[in-house]
Subunit: 229 residues, 2 copies
Protein backbone atom coordinates (compact mmCIF):
# COMPACT_ATOMS: atom_id res chain seq x y z
CA UNK A 1 0.00 0.00 0.00
CA UNK A 2 0.91 3.65 -0.43
CA UNK A 3 0.75 5.07 3.09
CA UNK A 4 1.10 8.55 4.62
CA UNK A 5 2.55 8.24 8.12
CA UNK A 6 1.99 10.94 10.72
CA UNK A 7 5.52 11.14 11.97
CA UNK A 8 6.84 12.87 15.07
CA UNK A 9 10.36 11.47 15.15
CA UNK A 10 9.54 9.77 18.45
CA UNK A 11 9.98 6.19 19.53
CA UNK A 12 6.47 5.01 18.58
CA UNK A 13 6.13 6.56 15.14
CA UNK A 14 9.73 5.72 14.18
CA UNK A 15 9.08 2.09 15.06
CA UNK A 16 5.86 2.27 13.00
CA UNK A 17 7.84 3.70 10.07
CA UNK A 18 10.23 0.74 10.20
CA UNK A 19 7.33 -1.68 10.75
CA UNK A 20 5.37 -0.49 7.68
CA UNK A 21 8.45 -0.56 5.46
CA UNK A 22 9.33 -4.05 6.68
CA UNK A 23 5.80 -5.11 5.65
CA UNK A 24 6.54 -3.90 2.11
CA UNK A 25 4.53 -0.68 2.10
CA UNK A 26 5.58 2.54 0.42
CA UNK A 27 5.63 5.21 3.12
CA UNK A 28 5.79 9.02 2.97
CA UNK A 29 6.06 10.89 6.27
CA UNK A 30 4.27 14.03 7.43
CA UNK A 31 5.47 16.13 10.37
CA UNK A 32 3.94 19.31 11.69
CA UNK A 33 5.56 22.22 13.45
CA UNK A 34 2.64 23.55 15.47
CA UNK A 35 4.91 25.58 17.71
CA UNK A 36 5.48 22.68 20.09
CA UNK A 37 7.98 23.29 22.87
CA UNK A 38 9.62 20.00 21.95
CA UNK A 39 10.10 20.81 18.28
CA UNK A 40 13.55 19.30 18.44
CA UNK A 41 11.59 16.13 17.56
CA UNK A 42 11.21 17.56 14.05
CA UNK A 43 14.97 17.59 13.52
CA UNK A 44 15.06 13.97 14.63
CA UNK A 45 12.23 13.18 12.19
CA UNK A 46 14.05 14.81 9.29
CA UNK A 47 17.31 13.01 10.00
CA UNK A 48 15.65 9.62 10.39
CA UNK A 49 13.69 10.00 7.12
CA UNK A 50 16.76 11.22 5.27
CA UNK A 51 18.74 8.18 6.41
CA UNK A 52 16.03 5.87 5.01
CA UNK A 53 15.39 7.85 1.80
CA UNK A 54 11.78 8.41 2.91
CA UNK A 55 9.89 11.41 1.45
CA UNK A 56 9.29 13.76 4.39
CA UNK A 57 6.92 16.71 4.32
CA UNK A 58 7.45 19.13 7.21
CA UNK A 59 4.68 21.70 7.41
CA UNK A 60 5.10 24.87 9.45
CA UNK A 61 1.80 25.60 11.19
CA UNK A 62 3.08 27.90 13.93
CA UNK A 63 0.39 30.36 12.83
CA UNK A 64 -2.02 28.07 14.67
CA UNK A 65 -0.56 28.91 18.07
CA UNK A 66 -3.32 31.41 18.94
CA UNK A 67 -5.90 28.66 18.36
CA UNK A 68 -4.05 26.15 20.57
CA UNK A 69 -3.60 28.18 23.75
CA UNK A 70 -3.57 26.61 27.22
CA UNK A 71 -1.37 23.56 26.61
CA UNK A 72 2.12 23.33 28.12
CA UNK A 73 3.28 22.09 24.72
CA UNK A 74 2.28 25.21 22.79
CA UNK A 75 2.10 27.89 25.48
CA UNK A 76 5.44 28.84 27.09
CA UNK A 77 3.65 30.27 30.13
CA UNK A 78 2.33 26.82 31.09
CA UNK A 79 5.05 24.63 32.67
CA UNK A 80 5.61 21.02 31.55
CA UNK A 81 4.45 18.73 34.38
CA UNK A 82 6.80 16.08 35.78
CA UNK A 83 5.84 12.53 36.65
CA UNK A 84 4.02 9.63 35.16
CA UNK A 85 1.50 9.94 32.33
CA UNK A 86 -1.42 8.68 34.38
CA UNK A 87 -1.25 11.68 36.71
CA UNK A 88 -4.08 14.15 36.27
CA UNK A 89 -1.53 16.98 35.91
CA UNK A 90 -0.43 15.50 32.60
CA UNK A 91 -3.62 16.82 31.10
CA UNK A 92 -1.75 20.13 30.78
CA UNK A 93 0.16 18.56 27.90
CA UNK A 94 -2.97 17.91 25.83
CA UNK A 95 -2.90 20.04 22.68
CA UNK A 96 -6.53 20.78 21.77
CA UNK A 97 -7.75 18.56 18.92
CA UNK A 98 -4.19 17.82 17.86
CA UNK A 99 -4.84 14.39 16.46
CA UNK A 100 -7.85 15.41 14.39
CA UNK A 101 -5.75 18.22 12.95
CA UNK A 102 -2.86 15.90 12.11
CA UNK A 103 -5.20 13.28 10.66
CA UNK A 104 -7.08 15.88 8.60
CA UNK A 105 -3.80 17.15 7.13
CA UNK A 106 -2.51 13.66 6.42
CA UNK A 107 -5.90 12.82 4.90
CA UNK A 108 -5.73 15.85 2.60
CA UNK A 109 -2.26 14.87 1.42
CA UNK A 110 -3.32 11.24 0.97
CA UNK A 111 -6.39 12.24 -1.09
CA UNK A 112 -4.29 14.60 -3.18
CA UNK A 113 -1.66 11.88 -3.85
CA UNK A 114 -4.27 9.12 -4.19
CA UNK A 115 -2.57 7.20 -1.40
CA UNK A 116 -4.35 4.19 0.09
CA UNK A 117 -4.17 4.94 3.79
CA UNK A 118 -2.82 7.12 6.54
CA UNK A 119 -1.18 5.61 9.60
CA UNK A 120 -0.40 6.86 13.05
CA UNK A 121 1.17 5.30 16.09
CA UNK A 122 -1.69 5.45 18.60
CA UNK A 123 -0.99 2.79 21.22
CA UNK A 124 -2.62 1.25 24.25
CA UNK A 125 -0.71 3.30 26.78
CA UNK A 126 -2.01 6.58 25.35
CA UNK A 127 -5.65 6.37 26.37
CA UNK A 128 -5.88 7.49 29.98
CA UNK A 129 -4.70 11.06 29.41
CA UNK A 130 -5.29 11.78 25.73
CA UNK A 131 -8.94 11.65 24.67
CA UNK A 132 -8.02 11.72 20.98
CA UNK A 133 -5.96 8.53 21.24
CA UNK A 134 -8.91 6.41 22.43
CA UNK A 135 -10.17 3.63 20.16
CA UNK A 136 -13.65 5.24 20.06
CA UNK A 137 -12.14 8.45 18.70
CA UNK A 138 -10.03 6.58 16.16
CA UNK A 139 -13.07 4.60 14.96
CA UNK A 140 -15.19 7.75 14.50
CA UNK A 141 -12.40 9.64 12.74
CA UNK A 142 -11.74 6.66 10.46
CA UNK A 143 -15.41 6.63 9.48
CA UNK A 144 -15.31 10.37 8.70
CA UNK A 145 -12.08 9.99 6.72
CA UNK A 146 -13.44 7.25 4.48
CA UNK A 147 -16.46 9.47 3.70
CA UNK A 148 -14.53 12.70 3.11
CA UNK A 149 -13.53 12.08 -0.50
CA UNK A 150 -14.60 9.99 -3.50
CA UNK A 151 -11.11 8.48 -3.34
CA UNK A 152 -11.42 6.43 -0.15
CA UNK A 153 -8.49 6.73 2.26
CA UNK A 154 -8.27 4.30 5.15
CA UNK A 155 -6.85 4.98 8.61
CA UNK A 156 -4.64 2.30 10.12
CA UNK A 157 -3.22 2.13 13.63
CA UNK A 158 -1.19 -1.09 13.75
CA UNK A 159 0.03 -0.41 17.31
CA UNK A 160 -3.39 0.36 18.82
CA UNK A 161 -3.32 -2.84 20.88
CA UNK A 162 0.35 -2.69 21.89
CA UNK A 163 1.79 -0.98 24.95
CA UNK A 164 5.04 0.97 24.78
CA UNK A 165 7.05 -2.00 26.08
CA UNK A 166 5.86 -4.11 23.14
CA UNK A 167 6.69 -1.26 20.76
CA UNK A 168 10.26 -1.12 22.11
CA UNK A 169 10.55 -4.88 21.59
CA UNK A 170 9.20 -4.58 18.04
CA UNK A 171 11.57 -1.67 17.36
CA UNK A 172 14.58 -3.60 18.66
CA UNK A 173 13.71 -6.52 16.36
CA UNK A 174 13.49 -4.11 13.40
CA UNK A 175 16.80 -2.37 14.18
CA UNK A 176 15.29 1.03 14.96
CA UNK A 177 18.07 3.49 15.91
CA UNK A 178 16.42 4.43 19.22
CA UNK A 179 19.15 6.89 20.21
CA UNK A 180 18.19 9.08 17.26
CA UNK A 181 14.48 9.22 18.15
CA UNK A 182 13.13 12.07 20.26
CA UNK A 183 10.39 11.76 22.92
CA UNK A 184 11.03 14.50 25.49
CA UNK A 185 8.43 17.24 26.06
CA UNK A 186 10.91 19.49 27.90
CA UNK A 187 14.31 19.35 26.14
CA UNK A 188 17.38 20.30 28.20
CA UNK A 189 20.81 21.40 27.02
CA UNK A 190 23.77 19.24 27.96
CA UNK A 191 26.18 21.59 29.79
CA UNK A 192 29.26 19.96 28.22
CA UNK A 193 28.27 19.23 24.61
CA UNK A 194 25.61 22.00 24.35
CA UNK A 195 23.43 19.43 22.58
CA UNK A 196 19.77 18.87 23.46
CA UNK A 197 19.13 15.92 25.75
CA UNK A 198 15.95 14.35 27.08
CA UNK A 199 14.98 15.84 30.47
CA UNK A 200 14.11 12.45 31.99
CA UNK A 201 11.35 13.89 34.17
CA UNK A 202 8.39 14.60 31.88
CA UNK A 203 5.66 12.01 31.40
CA UNK A 204 6.87 10.83 28.03
CA UNK A 205 10.46 10.39 29.31
CA UNK A 206 9.33 8.48 32.39
CA UNK A 207 7.33 6.18 30.13
CA UNK A 208 10.24 5.82 27.71
CA UNK A 209 12.63 4.78 30.47
CA UNK A 210 10.04 2.40 31.90
CA UNK A 211 9.35 0.79 28.50
CA UNK A 212 13.04 0.00 27.91
CA UNK A 213 13.37 -1.39 31.45
CA UNK A 214 10.27 -3.59 31.12
CA UNK A 215 11.31 -4.73 27.64
CA UNK A 216 14.72 -5.75 28.98
CA UNK A 217 16.45 -3.71 26.29
CA UNK A 218 19.27 -1.20 27.02
CA UNK A 219 18.08 2.40 26.74
CA UNK A 220 20.58 4.37 24.60
CA UNK A 221 18.92 7.73 25.34
CA UNK A 222 20.88 10.60 26.95
CA UNK A 223 18.84 11.93 29.88
CA UNK A 224 19.56 14.96 32.08
CA UNK A 225 17.90 13.04 34.92
CA UNK A 226 17.27 9.31 35.22
CA UNK A 227 14.14 8.32 37.14
CA UNK A 228 14.33 5.58 39.74
CA UNK A 229 11.75 3.18 38.34
CA UNK B 1 -24.29 29.14 23.37
CA UNK B 2 -20.74 30.19 22.61
CA UNK B 3 -20.23 29.14 18.98
CA UNK B 4 -17.27 29.12 16.58
CA UNK B 5 -18.54 29.62 13.03
CA UNK B 6 -16.52 28.45 10.05
CA UNK B 7 -16.91 31.53 7.97
CA UNK B 8 -16.09 32.03 4.29
CA UNK B 9 -17.73 35.39 3.72
CA UNK B 10 -20.12 33.71 1.26
CA UNK B 11 -23.89 33.83 1.07
CA UNK B 12 -24.52 30.68 3.12
CA UNK B 13 -22.15 31.25 6.04
CA UNK B 14 -23.00 34.97 6.25
CA UNK B 15 -26.69 34.07 6.51
CA UNK B 16 -25.76 31.52 9.18
CA UNK B 17 -23.82 34.20 11.07
CA UNK B 18 -26.90 36.42 11.11
CA UNK B 19 -29.15 33.44 11.94
CA UNK B 20 -27.09 32.37 14.98
CA UNK B 21 -26.84 35.91 16.31
CA UNK B 22 -30.60 36.40 15.85
CA UNK B 23 -31.09 33.25 17.96
CA UNK B 24 -29.11 34.89 20.77
CA UNK B 25 -25.83 32.98 20.44
CA UNK B 26 -22.39 34.48 20.94
CA UNK B 27 -20.46 33.85 17.72
CA UNK B 28 -16.76 34.09 16.85
CA UNK B 29 -15.79 33.52 13.21
CA UNK B 30 -12.90 31.53 11.76
CA UNK B 31 -11.69 31.95 8.18
CA UNK B 32 -8.81 30.17 6.51
CA UNK B 33 -6.56 31.33 3.71
CA UNK B 34 -5.53 27.99 2.21
CA UNK B 35 -4.30 29.63 -0.97
CA UNK B 36 -7.74 29.52 -2.59
CA UNK B 37 -8.00 31.23 -5.96
CA UNK B 38 -11.09 33.01 -4.65
CA UNK B 39 -9.43 34.45 -1.54
CA UNK B 40 -11.23 37.71 -2.17
CA UNK B 41 -13.92 36.02 -0.04
CA UNK B 42 -11.65 36.57 2.97
CA UNK B 43 -11.76 40.34 2.52
CA UNK B 44 -15.56 40.09 2.38
CA UNK B 45 -15.50 37.98 5.57
CA UNK B 46 -13.35 40.51 7.41
CA UNK B 47 -15.52 43.45 6.40
CA UNK B 48 -18.76 41.71 7.31
CA UNK B 49 -17.45 40.67 10.75
CA UNK B 50 -16.05 44.13 11.42
CA UNK B 51 -19.42 45.70 10.64
CA UNK B 52 -21.10 43.42 13.21
CA UNK B 53 -18.36 43.65 15.85
CA UNK B 54 -17.79 39.88 15.58
CA UNK B 55 -14.41 38.46 16.63
CA UNK B 56 -12.80 37.16 13.44
CA UNK B 57 -9.75 34.90 13.32
CA UNK B 58 -8.16 34.71 9.88
CA UNK B 59 -5.51 32.00 9.70
CA UNK B 60 -2.98 31.93 6.89
CA UNK B 61 -2.45 28.30 5.89
CA UNK B 62 -0.99 28.88 2.44
CA UNK B 63 1.87 26.58 3.47
CA UNK B 64 -0.62 23.75 2.94
CA UNK B 65 -0.75 24.30 -0.81
CA UNK B 66 1.66 21.44 -1.59
CA UNK B 67 -0.65 19.06 0.30
CA UNK B 68 -3.77 20.25 -1.58
CA UNK B 69 -2.61 19.89 -5.18
CA UNK B 70 -4.97 19.01 -8.02
CA UNK B 71 -7.95 21.23 -7.21
CA UNK B 72 -8.82 24.20 -9.42
CA UNK B 73 -9.27 26.19 -6.21
CA UNK B 74 -5.71 25.78 -4.96
CA UNK B 75 -3.75 24.94 -8.09
CA UNK B 76 -3.47 27.76 -10.66
CA UNK B 77 -2.68 25.27 -13.42
CA UNK B 78 -6.15 23.69 -13.11
CA UNK B 79 -8.86 25.89 -14.70
CA UNK B 80 -12.13 26.67 -12.88
CA UNK B 81 -14.93 24.79 -14.65
CA UNK B 82 -18.01 26.67 -15.87
CA UNK B 83 -21.60 25.47 -15.54
CA UNK B 84 -23.89 24.05 -12.96
CA UNK B 85 -22.71 22.34 -9.77
CA UNK B 86 -24.20 18.99 -10.67
CA UNK B 87 -21.86 18.59 -13.65
CA UNK B 88 -19.15 16.01 -13.15
CA UNK B 89 -16.55 18.60 -14.17
CA UNK B 90 -17.26 20.51 -10.98
CA UNK B 91 -15.36 17.82 -9.12
CA UNK B 92 -12.25 19.77 -10.13
CA UNK B 93 -13.21 22.33 -7.50
CA UNK B 94 -13.10 19.84 -4.63
CA UNK B 95 -10.27 20.75 -2.25
CA UNK B 96 -9.06 17.48 -0.70
CA UNK B 97 -10.41 17.01 2.82
CA UNK B 98 -11.14 20.72 3.13
CA UNK B 99 -14.08 20.40 5.48
CA UNK B 100 -12.34 18.05 7.89
CA UNK B 101 -9.42 20.48 8.00
CA UNK B 102 -11.69 23.45 8.67
CA UNK B 103 -13.69 21.54 11.28
CA UNK B 104 -10.51 20.28 12.98
CA UNK B 105 -9.18 23.85 13.23
CA UNK B 106 -12.49 25.23 14.47
CA UNK B 107 -12.65 22.33 16.94
CA UNK B 108 -9.17 23.13 18.27
CA UNK B 109 -10.09 26.77 18.77
CA UNK B 110 -13.41 25.81 20.39
CA UNK B 111 -11.71 23.40 22.82
CA UNK B 112 -9.06 25.98 23.64
CA UNK B 113 -11.73 28.67 24.31
CA UNK B 114 -14.12 26.20 25.99
CA UNK B 115 -16.79 27.12 23.44
CA UNK B 116 -19.94 24.98 23.29
CA UNK B 117 -20.13 24.22 19.59
CA UNK B 118 -18.80 24.82 16.11
CA UNK B 119 -21.14 25.60 13.24
CA UNK B 120 -20.86 25.48 9.49
CA UNK B 121 -23.22 26.19 6.68
CA UNK B 122 -23.48 22.80 5.01
CA UNK B 123 -26.74 22.77 3.06
CA UNK B 124 -28.86 20.39 1.03
CA UNK B 125 -27.62 21.60 -2.34
CA UNK B 126 -23.98 20.73 -1.51
CA UNK B 127 -24.18 16.97 -1.51
CA UNK B 128 -23.96 15.82 -5.13
CA UNK B 129 -20.45 17.15 -5.77
CA UNK B 130 -18.81 17.55 -2.38
CA UNK B 131 -18.41 14.29 -0.47
CA UNK B 132 -17.49 16.14 2.73
CA UNK B 133 -20.81 18.01 2.80
CA UNK B 134 -22.93 14.84 2.95
CA UNK B 135 -24.97 14.17 6.10
CA UNK B 136 -23.11 10.87 6.64
CA UNK B 137 -19.79 12.71 6.71
CA UNK B 138 -21.14 15.37 9.04
CA UNK B 139 -22.51 12.72 11.43
CA UNK B 140 -19.20 10.84 11.56
CA UNK B 141 -17.16 14.00 12.04
CA UNK B 142 -19.54 15.20 14.76
CA UNK B 143 -19.03 11.90 16.59
CA UNK B 144 -15.22 12.24 16.34
CA UNK B 145 -15.36 15.85 17.49
CA UNK B 146 -17.35 15.09 20.64
CA UNK B 147 -14.77 12.40 21.52
CA UNK B 148 -11.66 14.45 20.77
CA UNK B 149 -11.44 16.34 24.06
CA UNK B 150 -12.64 16.06 27.65
CA UNK B 151 -14.42 19.37 27.03
CA UNK B 152 -17.17 18.23 24.65
CA UNK B 153 -17.69 20.45 21.61
CA UNK B 154 -20.78 19.89 19.50
CA UNK B 155 -21.07 20.38 15.74
CA UNK B 156 -24.21 22.09 14.48
CA UNK B 157 -25.34 22.56 10.88
CA UNK B 158 -28.65 24.45 11.09
CA UNK B 159 -28.95 24.72 7.29
CA UNK B 160 -28.31 21.03 6.53
CA UNK B 161 -31.91 20.53 5.40
CA UNK B 162 -32.30 23.81 3.51
CA UNK B 163 -31.51 24.43 -0.13
CA UNK B 164 -29.83 27.64 -1.30
CA UNK B 165 -33.17 29.22 -2.23
CA UNK B 166 -34.42 28.79 1.33
CA UNK B 167 -31.13 30.25 2.63
CA UNK B 168 -31.59 33.34 0.45
CA UNK B 169 -35.12 33.72 1.82
CA UNK B 170 -33.87 33.35 5.39
CA UNK B 171 -31.07 35.85 4.71
CA UNK B 172 -33.46 38.39 3.25
CA UNK B 173 -35.67 38.12 6.35
CA UNK B 174 -32.61 38.69 8.55
CA UNK B 175 -31.38 41.70 6.56
CA UNK B 176 -28.16 40.08 5.34
CA UNK B 177 -26.23 42.55 3.12
CA UNK B 178 -25.99 40.10 0.21
CA UNK B 179 -24.08 42.52 -2.03
CA UNK B 180 -21.16 42.37 0.42
CA UNK B 181 -20.95 38.56 0.47
CA UNK B 182 -18.62 36.76 -1.90
CA UNK B 183 -19.35 33.41 -3.63
CA UNK B 184 -17.38 33.39 -6.89
CA UNK B 185 -14.66 30.77 -7.49
CA UNK B 186 -13.12 32.70 -10.39
CA UNK B 187 -13.08 36.44 -9.55
CA UNK B 188 -12.88 38.88 -12.49
CA UNK B 189 -11.79 42.51 -12.52
CA UNK B 190 -14.34 45.11 -13.58
CA UNK B 191 -12.67 46.99 -16.49
CA UNK B 192 -14.08 50.35 -15.37
CA UNK B 193 -13.85 50.33 -11.56
CA UNK B 194 -10.93 47.84 -11.36
CA UNK B 195 -12.82 46.16 -8.51
CA UNK B 196 -13.30 42.41 -8.29
CA UNK B 197 -16.67 41.16 -9.50
CA UNK B 198 -18.28 37.72 -9.56
CA UNK B 199 -17.59 35.93 -12.86
CA UNK B 200 -21.17 34.64 -13.18
CA UNK B 201 -20.08 31.43 -14.94
CA UNK B 202 -18.64 29.18 -12.23
CA UNK B 203 -20.83 26.63 -10.43
CA UNK B 204 -21.22 28.66 -7.28
CA UNK B 205 -22.22 31.79 -9.26
CA UNK B 206 -24.74 29.89 -11.37
CA UNK B 207 -26.25 28.52 -8.18
CA UNK B 208 -26.24 31.95 -6.54
CA UNK B 209 -28.12 33.53 -9.47
CA UNK B 210 -30.56 30.63 -9.53
CA UNK B 211 -31.23 30.84 -5.79
CA UNK B 212 -32.14 34.55 -5.94
CA UNK B 213 -34.37 33.93 -8.98
CA UNK B 214 -36.18 31.00 -7.33
CA UNK B 215 -36.51 32.90 -4.05
CA UNK B 216 -38.08 35.84 -5.90
CA UNK B 217 -35.58 38.23 -4.32
CA UNK B 218 -33.57 40.78 -6.35
CA UNK B 219 -29.91 39.73 -6.71
CA UNK B 220 -27.68 42.72 -5.83
CA UNK B 221 -24.48 40.96 -6.98
CA UNK B 222 -22.24 42.47 -9.70
CA UNK B 223 -21.50 39.76 -12.28
CA UNK B 224 -19.18 39.93 -15.27
CA UNK B 225 -21.59 37.56 -17.04
CA UNK B 226 -25.23 36.83 -16.21
CA UNK B 227 -26.40 33.31 -16.97
CA UNK B 228 -29.70 32.77 -18.76
CA UNK B 229 -31.48 30.64 -16.17
Amino acid sequence: MDIILIYSGGLDSTTLLYHLRADGHHVAALSINYGQRHRWELVAAQRLCHALGVVHELVDLQVLRPLLAGSSQTDCTVPVPHGHYTDASMKATVVPNRNMLLLALAGAWAMSRKADAIAYAAHRGDHPVYPDCRPVFIAALREALTLADWHVVDLITPFAHLDKTAIVQRGAALGVPFAQTWSCYDPQTDPVTARPVHCGRCGTDVERQEAFALAGIPDPTEYAYVASL
